[in-house]
Amino acid sequence: MSLLEIHEPGETPMPHAGEASLAVGIDLGTTNSVVAIAREGIPAALHDESGNALVPSVVAYPEAGGVLVGEEARLVMVREPRNAVASIKRLMGRGAADLHAVAGVLPYEIEPGSGQTDMVKLHIGGKARSPVEISAEILKALRVRAEAALDKLVERAVITVPAYFDDAARTATRDAARVAGLEVLRLVNEPTAAALAYGLDKGSEGLYAVYDLGGGTFDFSLLRLEKGVFQVLATGGDAALGGDDFDRAIAERMLDERKRDGIADQVDESAVKTTLALARLMKEQLSERDQTSGRLELAGAPSFHALSRTDFEAMIAGPIARTLGIAANVLTDAGMTASDVQGVVLVGGSTRLPLVRAEVAGMIGKPALTDIDPDEVVALGAALQAEALTGGGDTLLLDVTPLSLGLETMGGIVEKVVPRNTPIPVQLAQEFTTYQDGQTAMAIHVVQGEREMVTDCRSLARFELSGIPPMTAGAARIRVSFAVDADGLLAVSAEERTTGVAQRIEVKPSYGLSHDDMADMLYDSLDNAEADMAQRLLVEARVEARRNLLALDAALAKDGALLTGEERAAIDQGRVRLEAAIAGDDRDAINAAAEALETLSKPFAERRMDRGIREALAGLSVGELESRVGE
């Protein structure tokens, strides 16, 4: 645009860097998701029009067509249970073998992945969809919300994951972001992000614990805070334990009570979802009062259910005790005791339960820190990190691997190569040898987990190292290198050392997505992206138009004298029309008004240009001028 070309150097009204695209922090939660932005070290969650920061992590593909996310999707879930899905995070990077971990928790038709890729798919809205593409819809919705709230393009994000997420789940999260059109600056562990939000706020120093009990995952991390350094000493958790399980316990109890009262229920998807929704409501009420009740109606048969806090707490005592056991192990791993801990930060909606608060405070012996909304704290920390990563900050986050990495050896035993709680990034290597004369190939199986036997760990990747020169058994020296990057993602390579035969190996993730799957998903998302695209183009048009208005204002302020009164009035009118268009939602109107204004101000721009040239030439001698003209 010509208006942009007439700026004096250094007088551009808006700095160009960072203007086109902002980096946000995203907490992609099991139950709710939050997007936040930090500016100059102050993070804020982005709200919708009605002031809600939380986006329910529910995705719906309604009969009527399209994709809905959040509250609207939750409504669809009640009307059309087969077309909506919640808690998809629990299935991120999960294969058929893991389904026992979530069996019964998720009332969905799940099919194990087939062929090359093993990640499960769900039958939702009449189609098999992978957890990656469903999560991508949530991320897209968050991106659109952020763009609408900030009126800027959002293309980069720090996304948080449970510290205890394994490699497959982390990879799945990154893939989902890619499908949603977001570049992941960094995957940050949720407890670490929470500590960041607290630490910067308070300038705390010392040993802090983060107890993070969300909808579907539990994490416990110990961090040392010191002068802007956040050093994670140890972390532990359970990737399949959270508030969803409490809902399920209440739901099961209600269904049992109905059975006892002689109501013969057809417990189908719809019934389970209705019951779970009521169970969640009752659970939330029990954080506020000692007693609650609910009316459940399934297939026209109503029933009433009373639940006391005491009974509810007895129902969830087991899982809570398990979280405390994990916390105790993490303390031991770090060589610390509860009395070394200066404070414990509570994160996740489930930490609103009075029992959780009391138990955690009891274990650490100090009241828990809850000043920051436990639903928002992770996103706020992520936003701070996003700002630090793009704008340069002084904070240093030193995180660790949550789970040991190892290789399968003879007899299905795991040889640990990277122990858990190793600071990342890490690059370690281990040497192996052949066990048969003339062996030219070796199968390598990478697993993640703490158990001794391969069958008890999670399989991450299998590959074959071929082309080993034939040697006597035990003579070959095969060096397998592991690299875990700052996102906690693994890469493996191998090399035969005696001959230097390097093998480029492609690691095939056991629960990952094939390239074809990824391509399909990107393609699908383009199909469904019309609405997203429209929003995006609108934001782009606004940004561009505002930028031009600012440039015009700057030019008018400096060289307004070059215009006649009439010309000035015409430009001012065009300016008002463009501002009105920006306030509206019609992209074409904005572009048309911008073009009209540009035409109106063209003579002005030309006059400024001429004057610029005259000024540049002023004061030059004829000789100098001639030599310039001759150039």
């Binding site: 990563l389 990034p425 690059q427």
Partner: protein
Amino acid sequence: MDHFARLGLPAALELDGAALDRAYFAAQRQWHPDRFVTRPADERARASTEAAALNDAYRTLKDPLSRAIYLAALNGVELPGDGKTIDDPDLLMEAMETREALHEAGTAEAVDALAARSREDMVQAFARLGTLFLRHDKPAIRKALLRLRYLDKFAEEARARRTNIQRVKA
């Protein structure tokens, strides 16, 4: 570059923990991949490698036993790989006796007593290690480190045994 040099610390058995932390944090401030997110791919790769090397150095030097084993290796004392057979008859005998005692310990208190004794043994063995390094007595260093490594493992086993006893009780 060896781990000590990488962190700008003297290659010594005794190391001030706070100084190690300071050196490590300062180096990570320079090299952590978070500082290179918006840099070109080759710079990012370099940072990742440097940061990984720093982490390796820090982890090795932080723990007194792994630091001692590392320093010994720098001085030409190689230990057999972890989990390999013990070739020292004295240590073999000691190991058999303490393991049996642990196996027979039926209460948490009995396990604690064994663990405490082994911790004391470790402290004494560490104290002697300094002199051995000064004398460059490689066979003695090797023998002492093998024993320390065993005692360390024994402490872990005692911990597991104690957890087991408590679990059975509960």
